[in-house]
């Protein structure tokens, strides 16, 4: 049996799981091979969506080409959504490892597996490089227009922004996969002799030298810490560049120092939401209830509540600064992105990124359940999608053609609604991401076996006088 009955004290009863370290490897290995009907159905459905996404992409390219960014607004929004989730999720694993929390153990691999989906990001980014308007005004020096449009690259050093952004997205992908490999090496090493076929070959190639010596564990720990710190810096940098180049830079006069921060917070919120939804599915239908206790949801829900509040805080900081000064360009941007053109999407964004998750997470009993934080996570994911559509569709269509080289946004543009290819791209693209994630769960175990086993050393259930409580070891 994977775990004894869940334990807990008082109102926290049933929250802690104490897996049996002796059976984890075998149990999880069997679950990884299992292709139950719901899983196969999910693979088929998401596979079809993947194909739809490709159809949508080809049709969009055939219809509009790659000359203007306007028709690619929804594509950019989808890229950004996937980028947010896949870049933020491995960071969650690193961050919670850094804080030495024990509740993160079942969450680590679930989060790190999103790095495989980030390969899709890299491929998706290539057309985005092509459609991005050049920094230099092709018309040269024209009255009423800038010779060089505003960007974070200023005078536009060699390769900016395309090469730098591509290099950044590539680095991000490589680093997140490196984190995944470093984390999974112990599990692959353990399973390399029992795994067969392609999986066995892969494990032997990637973890052939792993024997679990003290030195190897120490190097792994140091590696994860260093990669985590490095990854954190790249993630924040890339959020800054992508949000600036594909959003802020494309609306003339939008000078907003908090936007990269808001983008990053939205990314963290959405990625944590995705992790919680995945954990819920695993616990309820995946047979992992012996490994994923409610305590993980309880602790992660506090982080999600914090991120939700941070989101609305950063949004308000942006809004009130723009609102107060009554500068024409700032008023136009507020009208465009918030109160007028994209007001419906904004309200949906506000509802799903703040109001609804906050309403769910503010109740302690709901946060103690598994469904509560997961529901809030799902709402945050929808909110993140609304955010990306509002911002990136808005930015792509704010100043078409030569208007992008104007100094300021003088007119509030009209909204751009999705057509059938945009729907194929967005819905299909999300399905494609899920498809790749599902496939990756067959390659690597979705539970970080070594981390959960390590947790069994440090988490016990013990007696203090007449009461029974959780005992948490603090090795450092």
């Amino acid at each position: 049996m994977a775990a004894a009955e869940p334990k807990g004290h008082g109102q926290h009863s049933g929250m802690w799981i104490y897996p049996d370290a002796k059976v984890i490897s075998q149990d999880v290995s069997e679950k990884s091979k299992d292709m139950a009907k719901p899983f196969r159905t999910a693979l088929v459905v998401t596979g079809i969506l993947f194909i739809l996404a490709i159809v949508g992409f080809i049709a969009r390219a055939a219809d509009d080409g790659f000359d203007e960014i306007g028709p690619w607004g929804y594509y950019t929004a989808l890229f950004s959504m996937l980028f947010m989730v896949t870049s933020g999720a491995p960071l969650a694993a690193c961050a919670f490892r850094f804080t030495k929390s024990h509740w993160r153990r079942p969450l680590s691999r679930v989060a790190e597996l999103f790095s495989i989906v980030s390969i899709l990001n890299l491929l998706m980014f290539i057309p985005m490089m092509i459609v991005l308007p050049s920094l230099e005004n092709p018309a040269g020096s024209v009255e009423g227009q800038m010779e060089l449009r505003r960007s974070i690259w200023f005078e536009g050093p060699i390769g900016a922004p395309h090469a730098w952004n591509l290099a950044g997205v590539a680095f991000l992908t490589i680093t997140s996969i490196a984190i995944l490999w470093t984390s999974a090496i112990a599990d692959m090493g353990e399973a390399r002799h029992s795994a067969t076929g392609l999986k066995g070959w892969l494990y032997r190639k990637l973890a052939g030298g792993w024997y679990g010596t003290k030195r190897q564990w120490n190097v792994q720990k140091a590696g994860l810490a260093l990669l985590g710190a490095f990854y954190f810096m790249i993630v924040v940098f890339m959020h800054f560049t992508i949000s600036s180049d594909y959003a802020q830079s494309l609306i003339p006069g939008w000078k907003d120092s908090i936007f990269p921060v808001l983008y990053t917070v939205t990314a963290f919120q959405a990625s944590l939401g995705a992790i919680l939804v995945t954990l819920f599915i695993l616990r309820r239908w995946g047979g992992y209830e012996g490994y994923i206790g409610k305590s993980t949801f309880w602790s992660a829900s506090k982080v999600l509540l914090g991120l939700t509040l941070l989101w609305v805080y950063h949004l308000f900081a942006f809004f009130i600064t723009f609102w107060y000064g009554r500068l024409e360009v700032e008023q136009n941007i507020i009208k465009y992105l918030i109160v007028d053109t994209y007001s419906v999407i904004f309200l949906l964004n506000l509802a799903f990124s703040f109001v609804l998750p906050f309403a769910v997470l503010v109740w302690n009993p709901v946060r103690r359940s598994d469904w509560g934080p997961s529901l809030a996570g799902l709402l945050a994911l929808i909110g993140g999608l609304m955010f990306n559509i509002r911002i990136f569709v808005g930015s792509a269509n704010a100043a078409p053609g030569e208007n992008i080289y104007h100094f300021l946004l003088h007119k509030v543009p009209a909204p751009v609604y999705p057509d059938i290819w945009d729907l194929f791209i967005v819905v299909g693209g999300l399905g494609a991401a899920v498809f790749i994630y599902l496939v990756s769960t067959r390659i690597l175990p979705i539970l970080s076996i070594w981390e959960v086993k390590e947790g069994t050393f440090y988490q016990k259930w013990g007696k203090l006088h007449r009461g029974e409580y959780q005992i948490l070891g603090k090795p450092e």
């Binding site: 008082g10 120092s257 506090k302 009130i320 600064t321 440090y458 016990k460 409580y469 070891g473």
Partner: protein
């Protein structure tokens, strides 16, 4: 963690109540000296109010200088209390135990000190009374037909600061009830009566302790949003202005908040090191606590640095001549560029370089230097935001000038540091600066886990 040896209640009471039940010889001398400095500062303020603002370095266009810098600085220091007390309580970090009370009390006194700055900065402080003398009567200035701007951040500011001050005071007082009970039981005469009144009949039964624990968590959760809002609103005193070019930046709110946490937590770390040295609290303020604070500070400092880069980068991003003029003044004109380099160096690079080394984190002299360096840097940060922006204020380019603080301003600012130190010392004679029951609770929950041959420290946890 948990490097210290187990402590008994009697020992904890004796050592932590030392500051209250005994009078060290240095105490009265130190407080007297600080009191003299405070009185000199008050005299300088009185002189300034009598003679007018001409005795300061303030003049068009730099209307805000040392006083407002100092105001923002002390509001920033006040953020340590909630950061350590609330956030660490919510995340159940064991190492918060000795730090929370000192941080909360520092919050209260630094807020009170901060509030004196805009008061004297009005030049005619009695007019503030007319302005706030309100419901149900009409404020004086309104009655004379002068309608102030009620939508301004200068109205949001006092609402936020008063909320934070009231909340912090109430938080400290409620958390002090069990310690007042200990003092009630250890004193006689008038002290016993006063502590008895403050303890409100506390017995220490299960219900009372349960409510105390819940109070700590619930108040922490309620004060956290207030803490974020306070320094955001202070930042909006600057951020809302469109005529001061380097101020109108959307990132000011989180930038100021993280900067406040940076300076506040550094200040608390320094205060803890001082307390350990002065009162001999090696059993309570251990190297592990300072180590943990330093590691937290690395994260906070890096976050702060990110916001600094955002602020500066987007200042240049707009490529507007008027903003470039300010940035040029900050980065290219002496002595401002030298101050900028010093500021970034002492606020981030020097302390973080120190904090990345385990041996340096555990060396209390080096840690003290790092923490002081951060606070010098953070004071400079506020100064370098306020003054260069005003010195290059648009559209009054014919008024561009510089700012040199006068002796009066130096004395008043110096007086605020003396005031906070003096108040901290005085309060240490009245309440324990380390919460007794928190330390005792840490001892109760302390346990061990055996893994093979090694014994790992552990804690009991209810949730």
């Amino acid at each position: 963690m948990q490097e210290g040896k187990p402590l008994q209640s009697k020992q904890i009471n004796r050592e932590l109540l030392l500051t209250i039940l005994n009078s060290p010889k240095w105490f009265f001398t130190t407080v007297s000296v600080l009191g003299i400095i405070v009185m000199v500062a008050m005299g300088a303020a009185g002189y300034m109010i009598n003679q007018g603002f001409g005795v300061t370095g303030l003049n068009r266009p730099v209307m805000w200088g040392f006083f407002i810098t100092n105001f923002v600085f002390w509001i920033g220091i006040s953020h340590a209390g909630v950061m350590l007390s609330a956030i660490l309580r919510l995340s159940k970090a064991e190492w918060r135990r000795p730090a929370t009370r000192a941080a909360e009390i520092l919050t209260v006194f630094s807020l009170m000190t901060a509030m004196t700055m805009p008061l004297i900065h009005t030049g005619r402080p009695w007019r503030t009374v007319y302005w706030i003398y309100t419901l149900p009567f009409v404020p004086y200035d309104y009655a004379r037909g002068i309608w102030p701007n009620v939508r301004t951040p200068l109205v949001w500011d006092p609402s936020a600061v008063y909320t934070y001050l009231t909340s912090s005071i109430l938080f400290v007082v409620v958390a002090l009830i069990p310690d007042f009970a200990v003092l009630r039981d250890r004193t006689t005469g008038m002290s016993h009566r006063i502590y008895g009144l403050l303890a409100m009949g506390w017995q220490g039964n299960a219900r009372q302790w349960k409510l105390q624990i819940i109070a700590g968590v619930l108040l922490s959760a309620l004060i956290l949003p207030v803490f974020v809002s306070v320094h955001s609103i202070v930042s909006w005193d600057f951020g809302m202005a469109v005529s001061v070019k380097s101020w109108h930046s959307t990132v000011f709110a989180p930038y100021f908040v993280v900067g406040a946490v940076h300076s506040g937590v550094s200040a608390v770390a320094f205060v803890l090191i001082l307390l350990r040295y002065v009162y001999g609290w090696q059993n309570y303020i251990r190297h592990e606590h300072i180590d943990a604070l330093a590691r937290l500070l690395v994260v906070v400092a890096t976050g702060w640095f990110y916001f600094l880069v955002m602020e500066i980068l987007f200042g240049f991003y707009g490529r507007e001549a008027d903003e470039i003029a300010v940035r040029d003044y900050q980065f290219m004109v002496s002595p401002w560029n030298i101050w900028m380099m010093i500021f970034v160096g002492v606020t981030y690079f020097l302390p973080v370089a120190i904090w990345l080394s385990r041996s340096a984190r555990r060396n209390l002299w080096i840690m003290s230097l790092a923490c002081i360096s951060v606070n010098i840097g953070m004071w400079l940060e506020r100064f370098l935001i306020i003054v260069p922006g005003l010195a290059r204020k648009q559209l009054l380019t014919f008024d561009w000038y510089t700012y040199t603080p006068s002796a009066v301003e130096w004395i008043i600012v110096g007086g605020t540091f003396a005031m906070v130190t003096m108040l901290m010392l005085v309060i240490a004679r009245v309440v324990p600066l380390i919460p007794l029951y928190d330390i005792k609770e840490g001892e109760i929950l302390r346990t061990e886990i055996k893994i093979g041959r090694v014994t790992v420290p552990a804690v009991f946890r209810e949730d």
